[in-house]
Symmetry: C2
Subunit: 164 residues, 2 copies
Amino acid sequence: MNVTALEEYGLRCAVQLASLSEGKTLSAPEIAEREGLSIEYVSKFMLLLKRAELVRTVRGIKGGFALSRAPGEVSLKEVLDALNGRKKSGSEFCKSFTGKSESCVRFGSCSIRPFWDLLSGYVEEFTSRMTLADLIRPEEEIRDKTRSIASDHVGQMRKGEMRS
Amino acid sequence: MNVTALEEYGLRCAVQLASLSEGKTLSAPEIAEREGLSIEYVSKFMLLLKRAELVRTVRGIKGGFALSRAPGEVSLKEVLDALNGRKKSGSEFCKSFTGKSESCVRFGSCSIRPFWDLLSGYVEEFTSRMTLADLIRPEEEIRDKTRSIASDHVGQMRKGEMRS
DNA sequence: GATAATCCATACAAAAAAGTATTGTTTCAA
DNA sequence: TTGAAACAATACTTTTTTGTATGGATTATC
């Protein structure tokens, strides 16, 4: 259960853009410098984010990258999904669920499915509600928001219980 | 943010052992059959679990594997850690924290560290408290326990707030 | 325009993960 | 005591991920 390089570095690059003032852009060399990554590698991430339309670009000399939406409107889940290029994310946590049911040996009665579903449910909610804007705020505030999300999640599980 | 093959398949094999009655063992061919995996592959997982002393083995014909402790005493975190062989797990979620601080470009002020820490804190708590015995109980009960863990987690974050 | 700095795209190389094969050791049972 | 079935260990192959290199397109500036 780990974070891929693409996710980690790509997200960090996206955060760099979040603290950019309106109208400005940041070039790949600048981002690479700030994050200690190669320019080529950064370019690769940014291309993925651009294709997902999370980032807009200005070409030519003096060009660069900027978020195409306000940082508060971009969830971490969107960024992570874009970087993973639609392979697997969020609730599609486990290999037992690659889309086709044959990929899961005991699709109907997978011993670990309930576990994954419950864990990934939280992860998905957390990443969906946390935005790029949140990441550039003081740690204390990130913590507050996390508590709020976790608290809501408990509430949702209670509702689910009643429904059943 | 994905689950490795080792984690998924290895955990499923461990769960097979959890529903085994006292004194019995399950052979690699049997586990492989039940999980739809190759015998060689299953053997690989089991070796890791044995080395972590989570599993005991009986050699020779009629041999096999069994949990070395009661299923309720084996946390999923222990199993997952054993399968990952001490690479990275739990709170050491992100690549920025591979042990040596140089591996993180901006160690003191990593933009995504607070986020990872908060998310992985939940994951760690969840996997630490959930046991192999839990996974073979009805989904409803797994859900109940999850809610309980999540609820405690919110409480702990509140305490953390007061402390600061 | 020419030039330089940038994005764009894809191809390539290296490393890690996933999965298989093989060889050896143990032990039951005929 | 011999054969078969199982664990033990490691080597090997394939696939995926990670990271680099290269060639082209775009545009500000001189």
